[in-house]
């Protein structure tokens, strides 16, 4: 636990995740989400998975955050600022969160995962070529289904967001096309 | 261009300079035939083509249309406000005068009237291309109202709006009788009326 980089990234990730949910303005929430995703990408780098990390940055910051921010901008500010949540519900939520944390944490500590796999330095990092190999051999059908799913969802999003009167490609359409 | 038209252009250069041609050195006091009198009497024999057009209109409307003058390439008609839409429609549909070049008013406080004149031209008829027909009408100064010609000539839309605010003629049926060129906070009388004076003049 003495790794300052790890602690820094962890604080960044968790802190901005909390900010993403609790900040008053939704646009800051979206930015905080992007920063949180960057933190997760930092974890991936710490875990010697640079390929996944870059993918994470490209998709989450380049696409998901842009999408969310774009939607927030489309929605009128009046609707964004109406905070309608009751105290009781919030308290219950915090309690639930703490219970999940405590129980899962206890479970983890008791499960024997702690220290079992030792330090990461013992084992070799996985080369991203291996990922590519697996994707194109064993997981090839999955990849195709994935691609179809993506295409379907993009078309669905396009169909959802388009207006009837406007016939040509519109803003949201281009937006959603980004997601692959 | 038709043969008739090719002859027309030379006329304006030939006819107006009559007075000066007689006495070039002293143009200040030309007692010569035309200068002092009204223009319509200046030319006893108007050019044939223009006369034909005027006669055609005269034949259709009779006394409702008064021909003020006929000069080479220029005709001026005077009608009553109630007839103007009808005359304009006739001019557009039958005579082929398909657009208005200009429309503007003149204030005549002596007669207590405002004259509104539309200068009509033609893109469609080649023999009329060089002619300008001025369709005028007069309305009272105090309650200046005229029927709009916007449904006959689309091209008068802005000219009428301008005239509304410059001379205060309300055009009945015009979609927007409101501020156009003048500042938004203009609160004086319409500026092109003669009783509006520029400061210091």
């Amino acid at each position: 636990m003495a790794d300052p980089v790890f602690i820094g990234v962890a604080v960044l990730t968790v802190g901005s995740a909390i900010i993403a949910l609790e900040t008053r303005e939704l646009i800051y929430g979206a930015i905080a989400l992007a920063i949180s995703m960057l933190g997760v990408a930092g974890f991936f780098l710490l875990l010697d998975a640079p390929f996944v990390a870059m993918f994470q940055i490209a998709v989450y910051v380049g696409a998901v955050a842009v999408l969310i921010i774009f939607t927030v901008m489309l929605v009128r500010t009046q609707a964004l600022f109406s905070v309608k949540e009751d105290k009781k519900r919030k308290g219950a939520g915090i309690a639930l969160m703490l219970i999940i944390m405590a129980s899962l944490g206890a479970l983890l500590l008791a499960s024997g995962l702690n220290g079992q796999f030792g330090n990461f330095n013992d084992s070799e990092a996985i080369d991203f070529r291996e990922i590519g190999e697996q994707m194109l051999t064993y997981y090839a059908p999955t990849l195709i289904i994935m691609a179809l799913t993506l295409a379907g969802s993009v078309i669905a999003a396009l169909a959802l967001a388009r207006r009837e009167e406007v016939t040509s490609i519109d803003g949201e359409g281009q937006q959603n096309g980004r997601t692959d | 261009m038709s043969g008739e038209n090719k002859e027309q252009p030379k006329k304006p250069a030939a006819t107006p300079p009559k007075p000066t041609a007689a006495k070039p050195p002293v143009p200040a006091k030309p007692p010569a035939p035309a200068a002092a009198t009204a223009p319509q009497k200046k030319e006893p024999e108007p050019p044939a083509f223009e006369k034909g057009i005027a006669d055609q209109i005269k034949k259709r409307f009779g006394e409702a249309v008064k021909v003020v003058f006929i000069r080479p390439l220029r005709i001026k008609l005077m009608v009553e406000p109630r007839d103007i839409v009808e005359v304009a429609t006739f001019l557009r549909d039958t005579m082929g005068l398909d657009h208005a070049e200009s429309a503007g008013g003149t204030d005549y406080p002596k007669d207590n009237q405002i004259e509104m004149s539309y200068h009509l031209g033609s893109y469609g008829r080649e023999d009329l291309a060089s002619h300008v027909l001025s369709l005028s009408t007069r309305t009272a100064r105090d309650d200046a109202r005229l029927p709009t010609l916007i449904n006959v000539y689309k091209s008068v839309e802005y000219h009428e709006r301008e005239t509304f605010e410059m001379l205060g003629i309300y055009f009945e049926g015009h979609p927007r009788n409101d501020r156009f060129l003048l500042p938004e906070d203009w609160a004086d009388i319409p500026p092109l009326r003669k009783d509006f004076r520029i400061k210091g003049r």
């Binding site: 646009i27 800051y28 930015i31 992007a34 640079p50 390929f51 940055i57 842009v66 | -």
Partner: protein, 423 residues
Amino acid sequence: MASYPQNFRFGEFVGSILWLVFWVLIIVTLVGLPLVFIVLFYVPLPPIGDEVLTPYLFLTMVVDPSRTIPIVEHLMTTDLFRVAVFPGFTYGALIGGLTIFIERKFLAKMQLRVGPLYAGKIEGIFQLIADGLKLIAKEIIVPSGADKPIFWAAPIAFVSVSAAVVTLIPVAPGWVVADLDVGLLAVFAILGFFPLIALLFSWASNSKYPFIGGLRALHQMIAFEIPFILSALSVVILSGTLNLTGVVEAQLQSYWFIFFVPISAFVFYISSLAELERIPFDLPEAESEIVAGWLTETSGMIYGLLQLGSYIKTYALAALFVVLFLGGWAGPQVFPQEFHTPLVDISPLYDPVAANATLWFTLKTFGMIMLFLLPRGISPRIRIDILLHTGWYKLIVLTFINMFIALALIYGGILGPGGLLVR
């Protein structure tokens, strides 16, 4: 017509200046000098060789050229030097600044003008410095209703993200800040930040024109990102690696990739123009339609930072083109192996290979930058629907064609391991 007050006395004027000088001297001797001495003699610096450096010692060594060499040598091995100076920010910013000057002179020539003329005696070479000083001196106006945190942060983010792209570019063998295995992917991941910044900044400006400009920037960058990535993909296929140094080395072993995949290079060039928002793709800043696009509300140094960022970006993309298609630092050796200067021997610093590589790399990069500048002189702005159509339909098809060419080259045994054209 000099205007001065009527009760002006020259004696009083001199007296006041002397009084001022007196007080400045007092304060300097009592406060300034002790502070300077403490700093000079008691602040430790990292050791060079076997002695602990203090600022005073450092100064003495800097004065003596022969003793400066080890300090410089030590500095050049540090990460700070790499990030801040040579392959990193300063190098990029310098080339960016030169780009601005070249752009202005080049366009001026093409348009029968003279361009910058008066700042600096020769052809206005100090115009950039003058403009920078002017921008710094100007007031920064934040529009009312603007989202201040984003408004202030976005220009800085823009510059730092541009600089982050620069860090991934290998300039010479070994001279790269971050030599990642997934270098090319990292470049595209970082380029993905720009639409976000443009969108956020345009939203934060609280004005309609920037917002339309931001949306246009977003659409344009996203429409051209896919052909951008795909055109680089054919290079990856040919070289078999994502590492940019590896890409260059693969080209050193065979020939420049532009000869194999010219269509990809063309698509990459077009997409770079779009990514850089240069004419004919400067729709986000189309001044006759939307004032200045997403830069409308910028003023002073905010504008300066955004411009600096965009020119660093220009350098980065030109350099990326050079790395991917033009063989990086490949070029004949022009520097001699040994290099002796009469006064000071700088041979420990002299690396003929790196110097040669840097020279060729910089030359090629400038050639590419000139190509990026050329359309501005000869082309009008394109319309957004034509642009999107080009991006989504035409360029993607072109890249696929070239990807198949690249695959054919690999599987036909012409390139790749043991290929015909591999030296």
